[in-house]
Symmetry: C2
Subunit: 237 residues, 2 copies
Amino acid sequence: MAEHIVSSYENELRGLAAKIAEMGGMAEGLVADAVQALTRMDTALAQKVILTDTRLDRLQREVEQNAILVIARRQPMAVDLREVVGALRVSSDLERVGDLAKNIAKRVMAIGPNLNAKTALIGVEHLSEIALEQLKAVLDAYTARDDASALKVRDRDDEIDALYTSLFRELLTYMMEDPRSISSCAHLLFVAKNIERIGDHTTNIAETVHYVVTGEQMTDERPKSDASSLLKVAGQE
Amino acid sequence: MAEHIVSSYENELRGLAAKIAEMGGMAEGLVADAVQALTRMDTALAQKVILTDTRLDRLQREVEQNAILVIARRQPMAVDLREVVGALRVSSDLERVGDLAKNIAKRVMAIGPNLNAKTALIGVEHLSEIALEQLKAVLDAYTARDDASALKVRDRDDEIDALYTSLFRELLTYMMEDPRSISSCAHLLFVAKNIERIGDHTTNIAETVHYVVTGEQMTDERPKSDASSLLKVAGQE
């Protein structure tokens, strides 16, 4: 293969990697801003999140187009092909992380400034801190193509699931104790669920890193300990 | 291009189409079964949904692999390339529809047989009927590469969003009127949200049909009338 072709191929791969890095930074920022908008009831920041998410969507389409061009032009094999498939998968997960952040931002407006279940926000904030740490860690693992770190992130998702389940229970308890909090807490249930799902996308990215590095697909369902969808609360039907 | 190559290329495209058709039928079945499991409180059927979803996940990975092979081997251009990209996108949406159906099935176990907000189920059932009709219609539009029908499906998503918003409000009212229903109704909130999101994936598929047929991307956010994330209920904070 002629030198200029190799180098333009490498440029194409580097271009994909740069776009994914940009998407990763943007997705992290959206999640952090959405949670901050919620805890500070900052509707201007919430609006910013909603607007910025459209840029993330656009980047995802660009990654898709570029990845397909690379596959068609270069017919990459083995690890090169896995790189391109990995870019496709990671960009799709990051785009959804942005959607989830946007949904949290929208709920800031619904909850309004009079939330009386303020202690519930502490749980939400704590959950989001861990989710954000995990997201950062997996993006670093992706950049470094570091399989061991990616698998560590994957294993830690159980922690998010367990915290989410306990927060779900806590929010139901607030609703029972004070029916005036039902509307706000219903929105917080969805916020918590969104953060738990950000954790799932982080896990997907960890599995993609493993696939890119080793060629091995993790198709088996990972052990899930989010039991909230199976949860009954004592004293409830 | 030699005849046998053309014919094997066509076979590859036909193979992709067949897998998408299989996924579509399976996704429809999962949604219908999950809602039936809920309305009849049939935990055996709910278990079946959870198991069947793993087959849908497997099919999605197969479509991804085959689509990438086709792109690398054939370097399709124009409408052929759009066909393959379309298959990738539709299979990803159908896989997520399956996940949402599985999540509904899991909640059947949590809600249990003593749901006293039985009238709330009527709303859920009605919402799911429309979502299922729409999903069937968009899969037919995809099979027929019928842009006009796909756009009709896309326009009708507003109806699902409006119904979802009213169901959200109704469920909050049940919770306020009878705190013993809070736990069940919280799960029904998520069930309703899952169905609304199935509608969003249906819309995505409609937009993919439009892209495959016309080459035009619908990147603009469609007009959304799901206002539930902005919803405050009178008398609530």
